[in-house]
Amino acid sequence: MKLLHAEILIARHFRNSVFKNSAIFIITLFIGILLLYAAFSGWENYSNQNETSEKYQHQSREDWLKNPDKNPHRMAHYGNFAFRKSTSLSVFEFGMEPFFGNAIFLEAHKQNTANFSEAGFSNSMLRFGEISIAMVLQVLLPLLIFFLGFNSIAYERENGTLKILLTQGINWKQLLTGKILGVASVIMLLFLPTILILVLIWLVLQNFTITTDETIKLLLFIGFHFVYLIFFCIIAVLVSAVSTTSKKALISLIGIWLVFTIILPRTTQAVGAYIFEAPSKIKFSSDIEKDILKQGDSHNPNDPHYKAIKDSLLRVYKVDSVQKLPFNYSGFIMTEGEKISSRIYNEHLEQLLQIYEQQNSFSKTVSFLNPYIAMKNLSMGLSNTDYDSYIDFQKQAEAYRYTMAQKMNALQIKYISNKKPVAKDKPLTINKDHWADVEEFHYEPKGIWEVLKSEIISIISIILWITLLLILIRTASKKLKAI
């Protein structure tokens, strides 16, 4: 193999010199331990979260079915729960999970909040971040790459060995490629075992029955992280090549790392949140209440909207009171009320989500300038722990709630007598077998195409970055000087 012979030689030499440095050896070893810890705690988190959520989802279903014969409207208030479940990739990327509510109570007339988030039950410690495999790969490994790479060329320049190398028939392109390969080969010593463990855990979690969707997500997760790490290797070597001293190279690289991973992500999101201010919960719910009242209040007997419905019903069925209608009148009115209130709620929710989208649009745009944000968004998307997935969960829960409430209303219209029981009559009920008609809530995470569609900006950004860096290697090879 004559091809890349010089490059491989340079790379091998670089790797050997790296491991002579005991400090680097210790840091690498330490990151290895951290990766294991991240894998372990991710696994524990995941199984804990899913076991609990499955247990209570199951239990709440049993409770629902155990209900005796009763009025379907009582069942609509008894309600159901939507418990959030995680996907298997969330073992490696926690994303926004700690900030998601884990349970939504679904009942008639009322859209409840998703409650019991991990963040609500912890003190500010959580806000410092979490250790997940994704965090190690996205934040710590780039820094390690910089610690490894800042010396790569600048040190040879300081020592005067750079001139010797270049006079021995090695050209700049070979030197740059060789050093990049060298840094990458050290990083691969961490990356490859991590991937091995990752795939193994992933297989065990799914009991070796894998779906194509999950497999594509996993492959993309690995592939994009690989590309991401490679371009930090390129940045490190390029900066080292243009810096006059290794100290300058180190300081510039640390600066880049801080801006990319610590300062920009927080600032851009904060700017977004500052410019597009979201309403408080109390304003949000009272706006909805007001709008619903404008449409008509089903509880108010003299409300014009409901009075019109009543009058038209009486006309069509040619009767003089609602008690004589051939179906349950209050069930009918509640169906109408639920329709109106949930339409209004959804309209307001859309407006709110739009504000959130605007807040997020800032950092989404900045992902063009910052590969870290692009990578983070993409990996959260792939593991279904991103913003879109959460909204998706809430929407699925709301759709389920609406169907459940309307089904109970339909049962009431059909089976409950129109004559209200008086004083000591037994309440009107229907058979408990109907409860099974409402299916159990099942959350379906977004598929790979949906994810790719919503994360298209991140993908373009990563592709642009890698092309830019490859071009930079070419131009640098032509322009760089030995001194």
């Binding site: 209900n67 349970a103 409650n115 609500g120 500010s124 410092f128 100290k247 300081i251 000591k424």
Partner: protein, 448 residues
Amino acid sequence: MLVLLFKNFLRSKGTKIGLLFLLLIGFISLLIGHQFQEKQYNTITEASVYQKEHIARNAVYHKDDIGLLLYYIKFSLVNKTLPINSLAIGQRDVNPSIQSVTIRGLEAQKYDAELNNPNNLLSGNIDFSFVLIYLFPLLIVAFSYNVISEEKESGTWKIVATQSQNTFAFILKLFYVRILSLAALFTIILVAAVLFLNIPIDVSLLTFFVLGILYILFWFAVCFFIVSLQKHSNYNAVILLTIWLFLIVILPAAINTYIVNKYKVPEALELTLTQRNAYHEKWDMDKMTTLNKFYEHYPQFKHYPLPEKEFSWLWYYAMQQMGDDESAGQSRELEAKLQQRNLASQQIAQFIPTLHTQLQLNEIAHADLGNQLLFLKETAKFHEKMRLHFYPKIFDEALVEKENWSKYKVETFNDSTKTSFAKAFLPLVLFILILIGFGWRNFKRGVI
């Protein structure tokens, strides 16, 4: 001599850029704090307007039925926001600062979440505590990692060493200059905050100030110790950044995972399910069984007999009460677990200055988990008070119009927790002394 050192330090372009950057982001953090404050205050004003309108409207609709009216109306309790909260937002963005509850079962309402964009929560706020805890150390490291080593590398150290009688004093002066600049910067931003955010000058502010200064000193002590090892500048930079990373990201995250896994809270979900069943099953049970339990809880209502009809509000509210009573065990357990979490994290934090400072700042600002737990407790008290106030009126079927509904205003909870100085300052002071002590020993032993 000192004046010259100052001039030399401030003349460097890097220093100027660094200080200006920190000043700028410090002011940005005040703007963000200001917006947070405005939003909190607006919400509270809105809440009292809405409550008034909401009660008045419902009192008209349900004027014949006080039981039904109280089924609907909500009463709000505000967790008081201190002006200093704008400097350390803490957990106040995750947890709601207002609880609105009806007199029905509390457990189903108590944990209602705030509306939030999870993206904002994940990336965190740029409040002043962030600037202090994350960014000040970076600048401190940038300013001090190459003290001495730079001069040694450029060959000027020998000149310095021969020209001054006491090189150790000279090093101290170099640090003195840097400490003074950053302490001044911190003070400037804090003074600006006091003026801009109307923060009262009181013990809380003083504690905040002292903690900030101690925190800055802690990082200088770390740098002093690393510099005392007299290694190469590059080595110092790598080590100091690694220490920063450890204290800011890795250790807090690791401890958080430990605490979350040690004190798991399945009680939260268990509680909601129990509460739901406990209330709903009563619809299908003998009414007297429910009522007897109710009378047992509230003997003062024994003289209200069960009305002779299929539905009565006495029975209804007794059923609602059972939802709370029968899930009380889980509720207490959940609270105890959260207390344990809070206590454990505070205890561990004493050994990690970054974490300790953040927790203390949040405590001062009444934005920590402890405050949230107190607020939940207070919410329960508030709810009980409203319940006991309205139960007899409902059971007596009091007339809606007889009641003066406008007197039910939004109430405020005032957290009276005092921060103990020893608890707040001692861990930092100890760390500073130890680091300086070891650094001093290193300097004395080694030939400078």
